[in-house]
């Protein structure tokens, strides 16, 4: 009698993550098409419209890349924290607190040099993100409280604080219908470099290489991997695993906070609920789908940015924007399924 058995492959193809992503994306497009067909929409027309409106012109391409900035930065933050085998589900909150920190510093300080002013505000965003993850980091390192739940819950807390600020102390009296804080002055707007493309994208490129270096080339990156691996190895190597985990979390949170600062200084120009539209959650997909590789996060983040722009513009023809979310999530599910075939082998064996 023949029987099928599962074997773990000795070697896994180096490009398996890339292939899984590619096939996952195709699966997701098929799922998206089915949903569109159910809604009586032509998938080819819809997707080609999405493509044209997201990358078809300099303007739309730069909007797409602008949209990618928070996805990439938050994704990089998640990947750094994952080096110590911890999860950051709180990027959404960190983005908001980054923006809040920027506004707080903007209101309370005076600078004559605009470039220096912007630099200080970007730094404030980074620190804001770190502060946001401080409680989950302390409770994880000191008491061992599950960081997945605490980082997630901080999202709701920070969002509540944002709503409080823009309806209370920071409420702009000129903004009647839509609660928001007052606009920041034009002198601190991030400049554009090409079309509508924000200077933030250059920061994004810089931080991608920074994260790549930190994770893969630096001593700290090596120590993080050891700290995230076996406890005994870390002890033998004389590495303070808790300290590494703590620092990794603060840096990772800072990346997401920086995303919030860039969003405020280049897109919304004020604190409102529009600072993030679920970027922190999409960033989790971006980071996971690339196997936490910074360069991959940059590429997939750019693609998903375009997908989000495409998703938001097809609203005009009556297609729900959630189609973009569904395609992004399905891509990861598809990739996970394909990844199985790269790591395992199904063999037929003779039964005795």
């Amino acid at each position: 009698m023949n029987n099928f058995k599962l074997f773990k492959r000795q070697t896994v193809n180096e490009l398996s993550t890339f292939y899984s992503f590619l096939i996952g994306f195709i699966i997701a497009i098929i799922i998206g098409s089915i949903i569109l067909l159910i809604q009586d929409k032509n998938p080819i027309d819809t997707f080609s419209l999405m493509l044209r409106l997201s990358v078809g012109s300099v303007n739309s391409l730069s909007s797409s890349l602008n949209k990618a900035i928070p996805l990439i930065l938050a994704g990089l933050g998640i990947s750094i924290i994952n080096s110590v085998k911890l999860w950051n589900i709180g990027a959404e909150g960190q983005i908001f607190l980054g923006a809040i920190a920027v506004n707080f510093i903007y209101i309370n300080t005076q600078f004559n040099n605009p470039s220096f002013h912007i630099l200080v505000l970007l730094l404030a965003g980074f620190v804001g993100g770190s502060v946001c993850i401080l409680i989950p980091a302390i409770t994880k390192v000191v008491f061992g409280v599950n960081e997945i739940i605490t980082t997630l819950l901080t999202n709701y807390i920070v969002f509540g604080v944002t709503i409080f600020l823009i309806n209370g102390p920071w409420k702009d009296p000129n903004s009647l219908n839509f609660p928001a804080a007052a606009y920041v002055g034009e002198e601190v707007f991030l400049p554009t470099v090409f079309g509508k493309l924000s200077f933030g994208f250059l920061i994004c490129i810089l931080f991608t290489f920074l994260a790549h270096y930190l994770k893969n080339k630096s001593v700290f990156g090596f120590e993080m991997r050891i700290a995230g691996g076996s406890t005994m190895t870390a002890i033998y190597a004389g590495i303070n695993a808790k300290q590494k985990a703590f620092i990794a979390m603060l840096i990772g949170g800072g990346f997401a906070g920086l995303a919030g600062a860039i969003e405020l200084l280049s897109q919304t120009h004020r604190v409102s609920t529009g600072i993030s539209q679920g970027f922190g959650y999409t960033a989790i997909i971006v980071a996971a789908i690339t196997g936490m590789r910074p360069l991959g996060i940059f590429l997939v983040g750019s693609l998903f940015g375009a997908l989000s722009i495409g998703g938001s513009v097809i609203q005009t023809i009556g297609v729900s924007t959630y189609i973009a979310d569904i395609i992004q999530a399905s891509t990861l599910f598809g990739a996970l399924i394909i990844q199985f075939f790269f790591t395992y082998q199904i063999k037929r064996v003779e039964n005795d």
Partner: protein, 307 residues
């Protein structure tokens, strides 16, 4: 006056607790088998919207509950497929289940936002304004009593039946269970789908009675609080129920604080349950010194080494 307020508080506590408890109990069963499903939020949402849609279209409340429960269960089977059959990372899969569930339910419910239900899940007794504790207890929604039944039967099944013992064995040590001849994958698959069904029941309770209407993201983190409740309850049904009552009480108390003379911003009031959840988790972890009662194999994919 105080009495009526207290009665109202008790009533609201029980309702909020029911919602949290059913989802938490489902997750407890899933986690007992060694599978961590972070998709509770998404599963509740899917159950909530499919149940609501069925109720609007058919006006048949039992069918609505059934559809909600089944669709959440089927939705959970994606997680089972990816983690149990294909042995992929449970954290990633669960998280994406939440994101997918929220997006999918927003897409499905687009044309149902703001619509009014003709038939709701009703209370079983005819008492509309309970005046004492007994009357509160006997005038609850049918789902409340169902939750009590589920609590007792789950505890019984886990402790006293072969299925429950197998489930626990698989969650504690899947390798030994496998060599003893237990079907690890099958057990985990079923447990994940049962967890989804419970989340779906919690979801239909949300849209067919607790709120009752449909808007985007109306689960507002309850799935995550349910996950925290499992840890709080040390993976035990009765203790999880106790936790649900505590959190239900907080959810019910917070909007009432103003009537008791506390001056608080409603926006700050809204975040208190989340702050308290974190505090409770911290206190609990310190108190138990790391011995949380978690199944030993949780989150570890089972793979039989073939030679």
């Amino acid at each position: 006056m105080i009495d009526i307020q207290l009665i109202g508080l008790l009533n609201a506590t029980l309702q909020a607790a029911t919602l949290l408890f059913i989802a938490a109990l489902g997750e407890l069963i899933t986690e007992k088998s060694g599978i961590l499903n972070l998709g509770v939020e998404g599963m509740i949402s899917v159950g909530a919207v499919t149940g609501f849609m069925t109720a609007i279209n058919t006006e048949n409340i039992f069918l609505a509950v059934l559809v909600g429960v089944l669709s959440s269960s089927i939705f959970a089977s994606i997680h089972a497929l990816v983690t149990v059959v294909l042995k992929q990372d449970q954290t990633v899969s669960g998280l994406i289940l939440t994101i997918l569930g929220l997006a999918l339910s927003s897409l499905l419910g687009k044309n149902y936002v703001g619509r009014k239900l003709v038939t709701k899940l009703e209370s079983v007794s005819s008492i509309t304004e309970p005046s004492n504790i007994i009357e509160v207890l006997i005038s609850q929604n049918i789902i409340f009593y169902l939750a009590v039944v589920l609590m007792i039967s789950t505890s019984f099944v886990l402790k006293r039946t072969m299925f429950g013992r197998r489930l626990e064995a698989v969650g504690e040590d899947s390798k030994s269970s496998d060599s003893m001849g237990l079907k690890v994958a099958k057990t985990q698959f079923i447990a994940t789908c049962v967890g989804g069904a419970f989340a779906g029941l919690s979801g239909v309770y949300l849209t067919l009675s607790y709120v009752p209407y449909w808007t985007d993201n109306m689960t507002s983190g309850r799935g995550w609080i349910a996950l925290a409740l499992v840890i709080f309850g040390g993976w035990k049904p009765y203790r999880t129920a106790l936790g649900a009552l505590l959190f239900g009480f907080l959810e019910a108390l917070v909007p009432r604080l103003q009537t008791y003379g506390f001056e608080l911003s409603p926006y700050i009031v809204k975040i208190t349950p989340y702050v308290i959840t974190i505090l409770v988790l911290v206190i609990l972890t310190i108190y138990k010194g790391g011995k949380t009662g978690a199944p030993r194999n949780i989150g570890v994919p089972f793979f039989r080494e073939n030679r």
